[in-house]
Symmetry: C2
Subunit: 461 residues, 2 copies
């Protein structure tokens, strides 16, 4: 895709493939109106079409009628892309869609590349890069939380915050530059401490923003939960009880689950992906079991949350200890969280109270404690999501840029120890950090980065 070529007029269907009542094709570019006029009739409506007015027209191939369709004309810059745009609403037949595409191409349009409409909107300044990137997330959003994160980014919440931080850096830079320009030494002595305190506060804000990325990633991709524990602790029963339907086979025999079982659930607007695992054993002679336990380990290693299940009606076994050790190894010091479940509480009598501090008391049989488990799973995200005053970072690219910007700024501290504060070097670090922030907004994004971002879009977006 030639990045900078907005001289051409592009065309693509904007609705999902497949037969539907209505399909939309979009033309965008300097010749959009003329190309549409080449196959839409009657021509007189198209001499000077009124913007944003729905015209009922005939799509024709030579003299043959292809379809009766509605067309909307948007005069740039008042359009999604900022260019002249025609949207054609036709019957959603594969043949008709193909025909209109071919008619457009014959009249001089090029097939749009992935995300090219949104990229043009970015190039024409209708959206900054962070906003443009979020259009893809918005379209893909399946849950309330993913939708809200994407929509607020499209609406500019992240851009505003990043632009604000960049503004603060530009101010700091201006101070340094004024000082550097002061060749006559007219200015009072430079307040290094005060300057660094300001820089530190910006760094902290950037770190706070980037720290939201783990939450953002989970909101966008779903929270990965591994259900682990000793054999026969009721892991599959817990999965089924949380889901509300019998996804996994359960039996009173230990070792019923051999391979991992996966299932997704939306909890209070968050996507949660569960992996039920084979019980951990101290000895595993069997080769099938060995493979199952390898998968258990892999699931625990990549989980955001480990639900560690223990049968509360029996004493702690060596296998419980092994499961706990493994779980701690996979959560200690990492971002993954451990939630301990004391299962089969229906088999307990007076002991319930005593064990409460060991974890969440649950009975898959009676349903006791299940809603508490669900709440615990989303508590990390939910807290962040509802209390946040900052935007949520959901893109690895943004996270990386923020981390690099903070890293640059943190180098300023080291300069303090020098006998004379090196103004030039400090300015260099601040410029570096500001440029990282600019890259989020696309102010400094080279063509390769653009190509890389938009290739993940579908055609038509």
């Amino acid at each position: 895709m030639p990045i900078a070529d907005t001289g051409s007029t592009i065309v693509a269907p904007c609705t999902p493939p497949g037969a539907g009542a209505i399909a939309i094709l979009r033309l965008s570019g300097p010749r959009a109106f003329a190309i549409a006029a080449s196959f839409l009739k009657p021509v007189r409506s198209l001499k000077n079409p009124r913007p944003r007015m729905a015209y009922m027209l005939s799509v024709t191939d030579g003299k043959k009628l292809v379809d009766k369709a509605v067309a909307l004309f948007y005069k740039g810059p008042k359009s999604y892309t900022g260019e002249d745009t025609v949207e054609i609403f036709c019957h959603g037949s594969p043949y008709i869609i193909r025909s209109i595409l071919n008619l457009s191409i014959k009249a001089g349009a090029s097939p749009a590349g992935p995300g090219e409409f949104t990229m043009r909107a970015f190039l024409k300044g209708k959206l900054d890069l962070a906003q443009a990137e979020a259009v893809n997330d918005l379209i893909a959003s399946q849950t309330r939380s993913a939708h809200r994160a994407a929509l607020s980014q499209v609406e500019g919440s992240l851009s505003k915050q990043v632009a604000g931080l960049k503004g603060k850096l530009v101010n700091l830079l201006a101070r340094l530059e004024a000082r550097l320009d002061d060749s006559y030494g007219d200015m009072p002595p430079f307040g290094v401490r005060q300057f660094l305190a300001k820089a530190n506060s910006v760094t902290a804000e950037i770190r706070k923003l980037s720290n939201g990325f783990e939450n953002g990633r989970r909101v966008k991709e779903g929270i990965k939960v591994a259900i682990a524990g000793a054999p026969n602790s009721g892991k599959s029963s817990l999965l089924n009880a949380i889901l509300g339907y019998p996804r996994a086979i359960v039996s009173p025999a230990a070792g019923t689950t051999r391979d991992t079982v996966e299932a997704g659930l939306e909890i209070d607007g968050f996507e949660v992906n569960f992996t039920d695992t084979a019980g951990l054993k101290v000895r595993t002679p069997d080769s099938i079991e060995r493979q199952g336990i390898n998968r258990t380990m892999a699931a625990m290693g990549t989980a955001d949350i480990i639900l560690l299940v223990k049968d509360a009606s029996i004493a702690q076994s060596p296998m419980d200890r092994l499961a706990l050790e493994t779980a701690l190894k996979n959560t200690g010091g990492k971002t993954a969280r451990l939630i301990r479940i004391l299962n089969k509480s229906d088999l307990l009598t007076g002991k319930v109270k005593k064990i409460k501090k060991g974890g969440l008391v649950v009975s898959c049989k009676t349903g006791l404690g299940l809603s508490g488990v669900k709440r615990a799973i989303i508590s990390g995200e939910k807290k962040y999501f509802t209390a946040r005053t900052t935007a949520l970072v959901t893109s690895a690219r943004h996270f990386e840029a923020l981390s690099l910007a903070a890293g640059e700024l943190e180098k300023l501290r080291g300069l303090k120890r020098r006998p004379a504060f090196p103004l030039e070097l400090a300015a260099e670090h601040i410029r570096g950090a500001a440029s990282r922030l600019s890259s989020i907004l696309g102010e400094t994004a080279p063509d390769e980065i653009l190509a890389d971002i938009f290739k993940n879009f579908c055609v038509g977006k």
Copy 2:
């Protein structure tokens, strides 16, 4: 679906499921504007929206923004359904689509049933029933011929012709009724012969229309071609050569194809569905072979065309004779057509000319004769399609109604033999035939028939 309830306002997405750049939701009914206004902001644009003008609005759930969307307002009867209609163009995210559906339902809309928008268009007189039925075919059309047949029916070609025929019957009926009302015997003697000649000409027109159904069905559903013949006559090679890619496994060994192999191809705008079959054998000891041959018989029994392949480089074998007999059994007297192929002509030298009248001379190796085979396959349809001055009947319901109408009219001939021409009885037959024609246009269609027709539509159409 309560057929006659157009007092409600319905809502449905009109674009295929799945994430796309844009999705369309449609509201139709007396409260469409009010329901849309309940979640679209700013409210002032919606006080008295200008018809057919695209408004850029916010979809809101309480105070929360759901999406920025474009809305078009159509004031009934100037809309697809004839009712007040709002079309909302939002980002094609599953979450957003679900949210707008829920907001509409919360504000009083009902989820639309299959084809309910088109059914309302019919009930409001925007389309007759034959036109409404073709909307579904138009959306499903994959090939040029299916598209043309469906589009011309949506545009009213069939309806016009059926209405014309009905008009002629009404004229004939008027004559009879004038005569029946002539209780004083003032009129000149009734010209039975002239009357019957007119009726016969209408009957012939109806038969001509209904005779197109086999073509229409093939245009709509594709032409079914079975490739049959003796083992090792090169059936799979022929399939591959026609398709232009190696769909079926071929080898020099006889009996390579055991199960049937299916493949579709568009030839000159017509959909053709090929079934390559196992070679017919005089003796079939093997149980796998037996099953294969059962399938061969089934494919030949349901084919529109049998391509009977013979290896032209060898003399006719008992298996060739068996294949020919079977093919003739499946085409003689039926609408199925037999096309004989003399394959492997590259192995012949001077004999080619001599065998030409035995069938189409083909070489899969050199490509000789392949385009002739393709032409032969679609010749039946093509001739009908390009030369036709009449509409193409593609619906079994219409075919049945036309056949029954013609049958009623043909009963008139029997009345001629009676000493006095029974005017009352003749009027009854003509009324019966006219009512069959009316049912095509939906003038006399009861609710059950409507329900039956529209249940095959998808929701949103």
